[in-house]
Protein backbone atom coordinates (compact mmCIF):
# COMPACT_ATOMS: atom_id res chain seq x y z
CA UNK A 1 0.00 0.00 0.00
CA UNK A 2 1.31 3.43 -0.86
CA UNK A 3 1.99 5.87 1.94
CA UNK A 4 0.15 9.22 2.13
CA UNK A 5 3.34 11.20 1.58
CA UNK A 6 3.94 9.29 -1.66
CA UNK A 7 0.41 9.94 -2.92
CA UNK A 8 0.82 13.64 -2.10
CA UNK A 9 4.11 13.61 -3.99
CA UNK A 10 2.43 12.00 -7.00
CA UNK A 11 -0.45 14.48 -6.95
CA UNK A 12 1.86 17.47 -6.49
CA UNK A 13 4.15 16.32 -9.28
CA UNK A 14 1.26 15.77 -11.66
CA UNK A 15 -0.16 19.21 -10.86
CA UNK A 16 3.21 20.83 -11.55
CA UNK A 17 3.56 18.86 -14.80
CA UNK A 18 0.13 20.06 -15.97
CA UNK A 19 1.16 23.70 -15.44
CA UNK A 20 4.65 23.20 -16.85
CA UNK A 21 3.68 21.31 -20.03
CA UNK A 22 2.17 24.08 -22.17
CA UNK A 23 4.26 26.86 -20.60
CA UNK A 24 7.35 24.79 -21.44
CA UNK A 25 6.30 24.81 -25.10
CA UNK A 26 6.42 28.61 -25.16
CA UNK A 27 9.78 28.49 -23.40
CA UNK A 28 11.27 26.34 -26.19
CA UNK A 29 9.40 28.18 -28.97
CA UNK A 30 10.51 31.59 -27.76
CA UNK A 31 14.03 30.60 -26.60
CA UNK A 32 13.27 31.52 -22.99
CA UNK A 33 15.27 28.68 -21.39
CA UNK A 34 17.95 30.99 -20.04
CA UNK A 35 15.26 33.38 -18.85
CA UNK A 36 13.70 30.53 -16.88
CA UNK A 37 17.08 29.62 -15.41
CA UNK A 38 17.55 33.21 -14.25
CA UNK A 39 14.14 33.16 -12.57
CA UNK A 40 15.00 29.86 -10.87
CA UNK A 41 18.12 31.45 -9.39
CA UNK A 42 15.86 33.82 -7.46
CA UNK A 43 14.25 30.93 -5.60
CA UNK A 44 16.63 30.96 -2.65
CA UNK A 45 16.19 34.69 -2.06
CA UNK A 46 12.43 34.16 -2.19
CA UNK A 47 12.55 31.34 0.35
CA UNK A 48 14.69 33.43 2.71
CA UNK A 49 12.41 36.45 2.40
CA UNK A 50 9.42 34.18 2.99
CA UNK A 51 10.91 33.11 6.31
CA UNK A 52 11.78 36.71 7.25
CA UNK A 53 8.29 38.00 6.45
CA UNK A 54 6.61 34.87 7.73
CA UNK A 55 4.73 34.00 4.54
CA UNK A 56 4.60 30.65 2.70
CA UNK A 57 7.93 30.12 0.88
CA UNK A 58 6.18 29.16 -2.34
CA UNK A 59 4.31 32.51 -2.38
CA UNK A 60 7.46 34.47 -1.56
CA UNK A 61 9.30 32.64 -4.36
CA UNK A 62 6.51 33.49 -6.79
CA UNK A 63 6.63 37.16 -5.76
CA UNK A 64 10.41 37.42 -6.14
CA UNK A 65 10.37 35.60 -9.51
CA UNK A 66 7.72 37.99 -10.75
CA UNK A 67 9.73 40.97 -9.53
CA UNK A 68 12.81 39.68 -11.33
CA UNK A 69 10.81 39.10 -14.51
CA UNK A 70 9.57 42.71 -14.37
CA UNK A 71 13.12 44.00 -13.82
CA UNK A 72 14.31 42.03 -16.85
CA UNK A 73 11.47 43.34 -19.01
CA UNK A 74 12.35 46.92 -18.10
CA UNK A 75 16.11 46.46 -18.44
CA UNK A 76 15.65 44.72 -21.80
CA UNK A 77 14.67 48.09 -23.28
CA UNK A 78 18.14 49.55 -22.84
CA UNK A 79 20.61 48.77 -25.58
CA UNK A 80 23.97 48.87 -23.82
CA UNK A 81 24.10 45.28 -22.60
CA UNK A 82 22.75 42.24 -24.41
CA UNK A 83 19.82 40.49 -22.77
CA UNK A 84 21.94 37.36 -22.48
CA UNK A 85 24.65 39.08 -20.42
CA UNK A 86 22.02 40.89 -18.38
CA UNK A 87 20.34 37.59 -17.47
CA UNK A 88 23.69 36.19 -16.41
CA UNK A 89 24.41 39.19 -14.18
CA UNK A 90 20.99 39.29 -12.54
CA UNK A 91 20.62 35.53 -12.09
CA UNK A 92 23.88 35.17 -10.20
CA UNK A 93 23.42 38.38 -8.24
CA UNK A 94 20.07 37.22 -6.85
CA UNK A 95 21.44 33.72 -6.26
CA UNK A 96 24.44 35.07 -4.30
CA UNK A 97 22.09 37.41 -2.43
CA UNK A 98 19.91 34.43 -1.53
CA UNK A 99 22.91 32.47 -0.22
CA UNK A 100 24.05 35.40 1.93
CA UNK A 101 20.61 36.00 3.42
CA UNK A 102 20.19 32.28 4.13
CA UNK A 103 23.59 32.23 5.88
CA UNK A 104 22.23 34.75 8.39
CA UNK A 105 19.32 32.47 9.26
CA UNK A 106 20.25 29.50 11.42
CA UNK A 107 16.84 27.89 11.18
CA UNK A 108 16.85 27.71 7.37
CA UNK A 109 20.29 26.23 6.82
CA UNK A 110 19.18 22.63 7.14
CA UNK A 111 16.67 23.06 4.33
CA UNK A 112 19.11 24.43 1.77
CA UNK A 113 19.62 21.09 0.02
CA UNK A 114 15.85 20.65 -0.15
CA UNK A 115 15.41 23.92 -2.03
CA UNK A 116 18.36 23.32 -4.33
CA UNK A 117 17.34 19.80 -5.30
CA UNK A 118 13.67 19.70 -4.40
CA UNK A 119 11.91 17.63 -1.79
CA UNK A 120 8.93 16.11 -3.54
CA UNK A 121 8.27 13.65 -0.71
CA UNK A 122 7.72 16.61 1.65
CA UNK A 123 4.82 18.07 -0.36
CA UNK A 124 2.11 19.02 2.13
CA UNK A 125 -1.64 19.51 1.76
CA UNK A 126 -1.26 23.31 1.58
CA UNK A 127 1.35 22.86 -1.18
CA UNK A 128 -1.08 20.67 -3.10
CA UNK A 129 -3.76 23.36 -2.98
CA UNK A 130 -1.27 25.95 -4.24
CA UNK A 131 0.04 23.67 -6.99
CA UNK A 132 -3.40 22.84 -8.36
CA UNK A 133 -4.65 26.41 -8.07
CA UNK A 134 -1.58 27.46 -10.06
CA UNK A 135 -2.21 24.75 -12.66
CA UNK A 136 -5.83 25.87 -13.12
CA UNK A 137 -4.86 29.55 -13.41
CA UNK A 138 -2.01 28.79 -15.86
CA UNK A 139 -4.17 26.63 -18.13
CA UNK A 140 -7.06 29.11 -18.06
CA UNK A 141 -4.77 32.06 -18.85
CA UNK A 142 -3.10 30.18 -21.70
CA UNK A 143 -6.43 29.18 -23.19
CA UNK A 144 -7.64 32.78 -22.95
CA UNK A 145 -4.61 34.28 -24.70
CA UNK A 146 -3.58 31.28 -26.82
CA UNK A 147 -3.79 32.87 -30.25
CA UNK A 148 -2.15 36.10 -29.13
CA UNK A 149 0.67 34.15 -27.49
CA UNK A 150 1.25 32.15 -30.68
CA UNK A 151 1.05 35.31 -32.73
CA UNK A 152 3.80 37.13 -30.78
CA UNK A 153 5.89 33.95 -30.87
CA UNK A 154 5.99 34.00 -34.66
CA UNK A 155 6.51 37.75 -35.06
CA UNK A 156 6.02 40.51 -32.53
CA UNK A 157 5.70 43.37 -35.01
CA UNK A 158 3.21 41.49 -37.17
CA UNK A 159 1.17 40.74 -34.05
CA UNK A 160 1.29 44.41 -33.02
CA UNK A 161 0.07 45.58 -36.43
CA UNK A 162 -2.80 43.10 -36.17
CA UNK A 163 -3.85 44.59 -32.85
CA UNK A 164 -2.29 42.21 -30.29
CA UNK A 165 -1.31 44.05 -27.08
CA UNK A 166 2.23 42.65 -27.38
CA UNK A 167 3.71 43.93 -24.12
CA UNK A 168 0.79 42.75 -22.01
CA UNK A 169 0.84 39.29 -23.59
CA UNK A 170 4.59 38.97 -23.03
CA UNK A 171 4.14 40.02 -19.41
CA UNK A 172 1.42 37.40 -18.99
CA UNK A 173 3.73 34.67 -20.30
CA UNK A 174 6.54 35.69 -17.92
CA UNK A 175 4.01 35.80 -15.07
CA UNK A 176 2.95 32.23 -15.90
CA UNK A 177 6.57 31.10 -16.18
CA UNK A 178 7.32 32.61 -12.76
CA UNK A 179 4.32 30.75 -11.31
CA UNK A 180 5.41 27.44 -12.86
CA UNK A 181 8.95 27.87 -11.51
CA UNK A 182 7.63 28.67 -8.03
CA UNK A 183 5.61 25.44 -7.86
CA UNK A 184 8.11 23.37 -9.83
CA UNK A 185 10.95 24.18 -7.43
CA UNK A 186 9.02 22.40 -4.68
CA UNK A 187 9.01 19.25 -6.84
CA UNK A 188 12.48 19.07 -8.42
CA UNK A 189 14.37 21.98 -6.81
CA UNK A 190 15.73 25.21 -8.26
CA UNK A 191 18.63 23.52 -10.06
CA UNK A 192 16.36 21.20 -12.02
CA UNK A 193 13.12 23.17 -12.29
CA UNK A 194 13.93 24.47 -15.79
CA UNK A 195 14.36 20.84 -16.90
CA UNK A 196 10.82 20.10 -15.72
CA UNK A 197 9.68 22.97 -17.96
CA UNK A 198 11.69 22.44 -21.16
CA UNK A 199 12.52 18.72 -21.40
CA UNK A 200 8.91 17.45 -21.80
CA UNK A 201 8.23 20.24 -24.34
CA UNK A 202 11.33 19.37 -26.36
CA UNK A 203 10.43 15.68 -26.20
CA UNK A 204 6.92 16.47 -27.48
CA UNK A 205 8.07 18.14 -30.70
CA UNK A 206 8.20 15.09 -32.95
CA UNK A 207 4.87 13.81 -31.70
CA UNK A 208 3.01 16.92 -32.80
CA UNK A 209 1.99 18.67 -36.01
CA UNK A 210 0.16 21.58 -34.37
CA UNK A 211 1.07 23.83 -31.41
CA UNK A 212 -1.90 22.46 -29.44
CA UNK A 213 -0.85 18.83 -29.96
CA UNK A 214 2.63 19.75 -28.77
CA UNK A 215 1.26 21.40 -25.62
CA UNK A 216 -0.85 18.35 -24.80
CA UNK A 217 1.97 15.91 -25.57
CA UNK A 218 4.32 17.95 -23.41
CA UNK A 219 1.88 17.74 -20.49
CA UNK A 220 1.44 13.98 -20.92
CA UNK A 221 5.21 13.42 -21.09
CA UNK A 222 5.60 15.54 -17.94
CA UNK A 223 3.03 13.42 -16.08
CA UNK A 224 4.61 10.16 -17.27
CA UNK A 225 8.02 11.41 -16.13
CA UNK A 226 6.66 12.33 -12.67
CA UNK A 227 4.96 8.96 -12.15
CA UNK A 228 7.80 6.84 -13.57
CA UNK A 229 10.43 8.95 -11.80
CA UNK A 230 8.72 8.71 -8.42
CA UNK A 231 8.26 4.96 -8.64
CA UNK A 232 11.88 4.56 -9.71
CA UNK A 233 12.91 6.68 -6.72
CA UNK A 234 10.88 4.43 -4.46
CA UNK A 235 12.20 1.24 -6.04
CA UNK A 236 15.90 2.08 -6.12
CA UNK A 237 15.99 4.58 -3.24
CA UNK A 238 17.30 7.53 -5.27
CA UNK A 239 16.24 11.21 -4.94
CA UNK A 240 12.87 11.94 -6.61
CA UNK A 241 13.66 15.17 -8.48
CA UNK A 242 16.69 13.87 -10.38
CA UNK A 243 14.87 10.60 -11.14
CA UNK A 244 11.97 12.55 -12.69
CA UNK A 245 14.32 14.67 -14.83
CA UNK A 246 16.23 11.56 -15.94
CA UNK A 247 13.03 9.86 -17.09
CA UNK A 248 11.99 12.99 -19.02
CA UNK A 249 15.43 13.17 -20.64
CA UNK A 250 15.23 9.50 -21.61
CA UNK A 251 11.84 10.14 -23.27
CA UNK A 252 13.42 13.08 -25.11
CA UNK A 253 16.26 10.86 -26.34
CA UNK A 254 13.76 8.23 -27.51
CA UNK A 255 11.65 10.89 -29.25
CA UNK A 256 14.62 11.64 -31.50
CA UNK A 257 14.10 8.22 -33.05
CA UNK A 258 10.68 9.30 -34.30
CA UNK A 259 10.58 10.37 -37.95
CA UNK A 260 10.51 14.08 -38.76
CA UNK A 261 7.21 14.92 -40.41
CA UNK A 262 8.08 17.37 -43.15
CA UNK A 263 6.79 18.34 -46.56
CA UNK A 264 7.23 14.78 -47.73
CA UNK A 265 6.21 13.94 -51.27
CA UNK A 266 6.74 17.42 -52.55
CA UNK A 267 8.06 17.56 -56.08
CA UNK A 268 10.78 20.17 -56.24
Amino acid sequence: MLEDFFLRALAGGIGAAIAAGPVGCFVVWRNLAYFGTALAHAVLLGVALGFLLDIAPILAVFAICLLLALCLLLLERQRYISVDALLGVLAHAVFAGGLVVVAFMERLRVDLIGYLFGDILAVGVFDLWLIFATAVIVIAALAWQWRNLLSITVNRDLAAVEGVPVERVRLLLLFLLAAVIAVGMKIVGMLLVVALVIVPAAAARRMATTPEQMAVASTVIGIVSIVAGLFSALEWDVPGGPAIVLVASAIFALSLLLPVRGRAGRAD
Partner: protein
Protein backbone atom coordinates in the same frame (compact mmCIF):
# COMPACT_ATOMS: atom_id res chain seq x y z
CA UNK B 1 -5.13 47.39 -66.42
CA UNK B 2 -6.63 50.17 -64.30
CA UNK B 3 -4.09 52.17 -62.40
CA UNK B 4 -5.70 53.93 -59.43
CA UNK B 5 -2.51 55.89 -58.92
CA UNK B 6 -2.64 57.41 -62.37
CA UNK B 7 -5.60 59.58 -61.30
CA UNK B 8 -3.08 61.97 -59.76
CA UNK B 9 -2.39 60.55 -56.32
CA UNK B 10 -0.91 63.91 -55.28
CA UNK B 11 -4.49 65.19 -55.00
CA UNK B 12 -5.72 62.65 -52.47
CA UNK B 13 -5.22 62.99 -48.74
CA UNK B 14 -2.33 60.80 -47.51
CA UNK B 15 -3.12 57.46 -45.89
CA UNK B 16 -0.09 57.89 -43.67
CA UNK B 17 1.96 60.99 -43.23
CA UNK B 18 5.09 61.32 -41.11
CA UNK B 19 6.30 64.83 -40.41
CA UNK B 20 9.57 65.83 -38.78
CA UNK B 21 10.03 62.36 -37.32
CA UNK B 22 13.13 61.90 -35.13
CA UNK B 23 14.02 58.63 -33.44
CA UNK B 24 17.05 58.13 -31.20
CA UNK B 25 18.26 54.90 -29.62
CA UNK B 26 20.27 56.18 -26.67
CA UNK B 27 22.62 58.80 -28.14
CA UNK B 28 22.43 57.35 -31.64
CA UNK B 29 20.15 59.25 -33.97
CA UNK B 30 18.41 56.72 -36.21
CA UNK B 31 15.92 58.99 -37.93
CA UNK B 32 16.42 62.72 -38.20
CA UNK B 33 13.59 64.99 -39.26
CA UNK B 34 12.03 62.57 -41.74
CA UNK B 35 8.99 63.57 -43.82
CA UNK B 36 7.17 60.98 -45.90
CA UNK B 37 3.58 60.63 -47.08
CA UNK B 38 1.90 57.84 -48.97
CA UNK B 39 -1.38 58.37 -50.80
CA UNK B 40 -4.11 55.91 -51.81
CA UNK B 41 -2.99 53.58 -54.59
CA UNK B 42 0.56 54.86 -54.54
CA UNK B 43 3.58 52.55 -54.56
CA UNK B 44 6.44 54.01 -52.57
CA UNK B 45 9.84 52.32 -52.54
CA UNK B 46 12.02 53.11 -49.57
CA UNK B 47 15.69 52.56 -50.42
CA UNK B 48 18.80 52.91 -48.31
CA UNK B 49 21.85 51.03 -47.12
CA UNK B 50 21.85 48.76 -44.10
CA UNK B 51 21.50 50.85 -40.97
CA UNK B 52 19.89 53.73 -42.85
CA UNK B 53 16.80 53.51 -40.64
CA UNK B 54 14.44 51.94 -43.18
CA UNK B 55 12.99 49.35 -40.83
CA UNK B 56 12.76 51.92 -38.03
CA UNK B 57 10.82 54.27 -40.30
CA UNK B 58 8.53 51.37 -41.22
CA UNK B 59 7.97 50.63 -37.54
CA UNK B 60 7.18 54.31 -36.93
CA UNK B 61 4.65 54.23 -39.78
CA UNK B 62 3.12 51.05 -38.34
CA UNK B 63 2.83 52.69 -34.92
CA UNK B 64 5.17 50.22 -33.19
CA UNK B 65 7.92 52.75 -32.51
CA UNK B 66 6.92 56.10 -31.06
CA UNK B 67 9.02 58.90 -32.52
CA UNK B 68 10.96 61.05 -30.03
CA UNK B 69 9.66 64.09 -31.88
CA UNK B 70 7.56 64.77 -34.93
CA UNK B 71 4.18 63.31 -35.70
CA UNK B 72 2.61 60.47 -37.66
CA UNK B 73 -0.91 60.77 -38.98
CA UNK B 74 -2.89 57.83 -40.25
CA UNK B 75 -6.16 58.08 -42.12
CA UNK B 76 -9.03 57.16 -39.76
CA UNK B 77 -9.95 53.48 -40.03
CA UNK B 78 -6.86 52.67 -42.10
CA UNK B 79 -6.09 48.95 -42.09
CA UNK B 80 -2.46 48.03 -42.68
CA UNK B 81 -1.24 44.71 -44.01
CA UNK B 82 2.35 44.13 -42.95
CA UNK B 83 4.99 41.73 -44.17
CA UNK B 84 7.97 41.76 -41.78
CA UNK B 85 11.57 41.35 -42.89
CA UNK B 86 12.33 38.49 -40.51
CA UNK B 87 10.02 35.79 -39.32
CA UNK B 88 10.96 33.50 -36.47
CA UNK B 89 10.23 30.20 -38.12
CA UNK B 90 11.93 27.43 -36.26
CA UNK B 91 11.43 23.69 -36.63
CA UNK B 92 10.67 23.55 -32.91
CA UNK B 93 7.29 25.23 -33.53
CA UNK B 94 4.93 22.87 -35.38
CA UNK B 95 2.89 25.17 -37.57
CA UNK B 96 1.49 24.79 -41.06
CA UNK B 97 1.05 27.61 -43.55
CA UNK B 98 -2.73 27.33 -43.03
CA UNK B 99 -2.38 27.78 -39.29
CA UNK B 100 -0.03 30.73 -39.73
CA UNK B 101 -2.57 32.48 -41.96
CA UNK B 102 -5.33 32.18 -39.36
CA UNK B 103 -3.14 33.54 -36.56
CA UNK B 104 -3.90 37.09 -37.68
CA UNK B 105 -7.62 36.53 -37.20
CA UNK B 106 -10.25 33.95 -38.01
CA UNK B 107 -10.75 33.42 -41.74
CA UNK B 108 -13.25 31.20 -43.48
CA UNK B 109 -11.79 28.39 -45.64
CA UNK B 110 -13.11 30.21 -48.72
CA UNK B 111 -11.34 33.45 -47.90
CA UNK B 112 -8.18 31.55 -47.04
CA UNK B 113 -8.25 29.72 -50.36
CA UNK B 114 -8.96 32.96 -52.24
CA UNK B 115 -6.04 34.77 -50.58
CA UNK B 116 -3.67 31.88 -51.28
CA UNK B 117 -4.80 31.65 -54.92
CA UNK B 118 -4.29 35.38 -55.26
CA UNK B 119 -0.60 35.03 -54.34
CA UNK B 120 -0.17 31.68 -56.10
CA UNK B 121 0.59 29.70 -52.96
CA UNK B 122 -2.42 27.41 -52.83
CA UNK B 123 -0.36 24.23 -53.17
CA UNK B 124 1.71 24.74 -50.02
CA UNK B 125 -1.11 25.42 -47.57
CA UNK B 126 -0.50 22.25 -45.55
CA UNK B 127 3.31 22.42 -45.50
CA UNK B 128 5.18 23.34 -42.34
CA UNK B 129 5.93 27.07 -42.26
CA UNK B 130 9.55 26.35 -41.34
CA UNK B 131 10.16 24.38 -44.53
CA UNK B 132 8.85 26.57 -47.33
CA UNK B 133 11.31 28.51 -49.48
CA UNK B 134 12.02 32.22 -49.13
CA UNK B 135 9.91 33.05 -52.17
CA UNK B 136 6.99 30.95 -50.90
CA UNK B 137 7.26 32.62 -47.51
CA UNK B 138 6.96 36.06 -49.09
CA UNK B 139 3.79 34.97 -50.89
CA UNK B 140 2.37 33.54 -47.68
CA UNK B 141 3.14 36.78 -45.85
CA UNK B 142 1.39 38.69 -48.64
CA UNK B 143 -1.64 36.41 -48.28
CA UNK B 144 -1.78 37.06 -44.53
CA UNK B 145 -1.59 40.80 -45.18
CA UNK B 146 -4.34 40.56 -47.84
CA UNK B 147 -6.67 38.73 -45.45
CA UNK B 148 -6.89 41.99 -43.51
CA UNK B 149 -8.29 43.76 -46.61
CA UNK B 150 -5.70 46.49 -46.17
CA UNK B 151 -5.75 50.06 -47.43
CA UNK B 152 -1.97 50.06 -47.13
CA UNK B 153 0.48 47.21 -47.64
CA UNK B 154 3.84 47.60 -45.90
CA UNK B 155 6.39 45.12 -47.25
CA UNK B 156 9.79 45.13 -45.54
CA UNK B 157 12.37 43.71 -47.99
CA UNK B 158 9.97 41.32 -49.75
CA UNK B 159 12.80 40.13 -52.03
CA UNK B 160 15.00 38.97 -49.14
CA UNK B 161 15.77 35.27 -49.57
CA UNK B 162 14.02 35.13 -52.95
CA UNK B 163 15.99 33.82 -55.92
CA UNK B 164 16.52 36.19 -58.84
CA UNK B 165 14.10 34.58 -61.29
CA UNK B 166 11.27 34.68 -58.73
CA UNK B 167 12.00 38.29 -57.82
CA UNK B 168 10.40 39.74 -60.93
CA UNK B 169 7.37 37.46 -60.48
CA UNK B 170 6.97 38.79 -56.96
CA UNK B 171 7.19 42.40 -58.17
CA UNK B 172 4.54 41.65 -60.81
CA UNK B 173 2.35 40.10 -58.15
CA UNK B 174 2.64 43.16 -55.91
CA UNK B 175 1.76 45.43 -58.83
CA UNK B 176 -1.24 43.24 -59.69
CA UNK B 177 -2.47 43.35 -56.11
CA UNK B 178 -2.17 47.13 -56.04
CA UNK B 179 -4.06 47.43 -59.31
CA UNK B 180 -6.81 45.04 -58.21
CA UNK B 181 -7.44 46.40 -54.73
CA UNK B 182 -6.23 49.96 -55.13
CA UNK B 183 -4.27 49.73 -51.90
CA UNK B 184 -1.15 51.80 -51.38
CA UNK B 185 2.16 49.97 -51.01
CA UNK B 186 5.28 50.87 -49.08
CA UNK B 187 8.12 48.67 -50.27
CA UNK B 188 11.48 48.54 -48.52
CA UNK B 189 14.54 47.65 -50.57
CA UNK B 190 18.25 47.78 -49.96
CA UNK B 191 18.94 47.98 -53.70
CA UNK B 192 19.74 51.65 -54.20
CA UNK B 193 19.48 51.76 -57.97
CA UNK B 194 17.07 49.13 -59.27
CA UNK B 195 13.52 49.51 -58.01
CA UNK B 196 10.20 47.98 -58.94
CA UNK B 197 9.11 49.53 -62.23
CA UNK B 198 5.59 50.32 -61.00
CA UNK B 199 7.00 52.46 -58.21
CA UNK B 200 5.44 55.91 -58.14
CA UNK B 201 7.84 57.45 -55.65
CA UNK B 202 11.30 56.47 -54.48
CA UNK B 203 12.48 57.76 -51.12
CA UNK B 204 16.19 57.38 -50.41
CA UNK B 205 16.86 57.24 -46.70
CA UNK B 206 20.10 57.65 -44.83
CA UNK B 207 18.78 58.55 -41.38
CA UNK B 208 17.25 61.56 -43.10
CA UNK B 209 15.56 61.72 -46.47
CA UNK B 210 18.47 62.11 -48.91
CA UNK B 211 16.29 62.56 -51.97
CA UNK B 212 13.06 61.38 -53.44
CA UNK B 213 11.62 61.20 -56.92
CA UNK B 214 10.35 58.98 -59.69
CA UNK B 215 12.25 56.05 -61.19
CA UNK B 216 13.08 55.94 -64.90
CA UNK B 217 11.81 53.10 -66.96
CA UNK B 218 14.58 50.91 -68.30
CA UNK B 219 12.43 48.61 -70.36
CA UNK B 220 13.57 50.16 -73.64
CA UNK B 221 17.28 50.21 -72.89
CA UNK B 222 18.65 47.38 -75.07
CA UNK B 223 21.77 47.10 -72.94
CA UNK B 224 19.73 46.49 -69.84
CA UNK B 225 17.61 43.87 -71.56
CA UNK B 226 20.79 42.23 -72.86
CA UNK B 227 22.11 42.15 -69.31
CA UNK B 228 19.07 40.97 -67.38
CA UNK B 229 16.69 39.64 -70.04
CA UNK B 230 13.33 41.22 -70.91
CA UNK B 231 11.49 39.26 -68.22
CA UNK B 232 13.48 40.97 -65.49
CA UNK B 233 13.77 44.32 -67.26
CA UNK B 234 9.97 44.61 -67.37
CA UNK B 235 9.71 44.70 -63.63
CA UNK B 236 12.65 46.91 -62.78
CA UNK B 237 13.38 50.58 -63.16
CA UNK B 238 16.45 52.66 -62.47
CA UNK B 239 16.38 55.31 -59.82
CA UNK B 240 18.70 58.24 -60.39
CA UNK B 241 19.61 59.74 -57.03
CA UNK B 242 19.64 63.54 -56.80
CA UNK B 243 21.45 64.36 -53.58
CA UNK B 244 22.18 67.97 -52.69
CA UNK B 245 24.68 66.92 -50.05
CA UNK B 246 27.19 64.20 -49.43
CA UNK B 247 28.03 61.91 -46.57
CA UNK B 248 31.41 61.54 -44.95
CA UNK B 249 32.95 58.14 -44.29
CA UNK B 250 30.80 57.73 -41.19
CA UNK B 251 27.60 58.50 -43.02
CA UNK B 252 27.16 61.93 -41.47
CA UNK B 253 25.92 64.64 -43.85
CA UNK B 254 28.75 67.04 -44.63
CA UNK B 255 28.44 70.79 -44.41
CA UNK B 256 27.68 72.48 -47.72
CA UNK B 257 30.99 74.42 -47.71
CA UNK B 258 33.15 71.33 -47.42
CA UNK B 259 31.20 69.60 -50.18
CA UNK B 260 31.60 72.67 -52.35
CA UNK B 261 35.32 72.74 -51.60
CA UNK B 262 35.69 69.13 -52.63
CA UNK B 263 33.81 69.66 -55.85
CA UNK B 264 35.75 72.83 -56.70
CA UNK B 265 32.79 75.06 -57.19
CA UNK B 266 29.99 72.75 -58.37
CA UNK B 267 26.75 73.59 -56.65
CA UNK B 268 23.19 72.50 -56.69
CA UNK B 269 21.69 69.03 -57.16
CA UNK B 270 23.84 66.29 -58.54
CA UNK B 271 23.54 62.57 -58.91
CA UNK B 272 25.36 60.67 -56.21
Amino acid sequence: MPRPSSSDPAQAAPLVEARGVCVRFGRLSVLDNVDVAVRPGEIMTLVGLNGAGKSTLVRVILGIVKPDSGEVRRAPGLRIGYSPQHLHRDQILPMTVRRFLTLGGPATPDRLAAALDEVGAGSIVDFPLAEISGGELQRVLLARALLREPGLLVLDEPLAGVDVTSQSDLYKLIATIRDRYGCAVILVSHDLHLVMSDTDTVVCLNRHVCCSGQPQSVVRHPEFIALFGSHLADTLAVYQHMHDHRHDALGEPMAAESVAAQDSGHTGRRPC
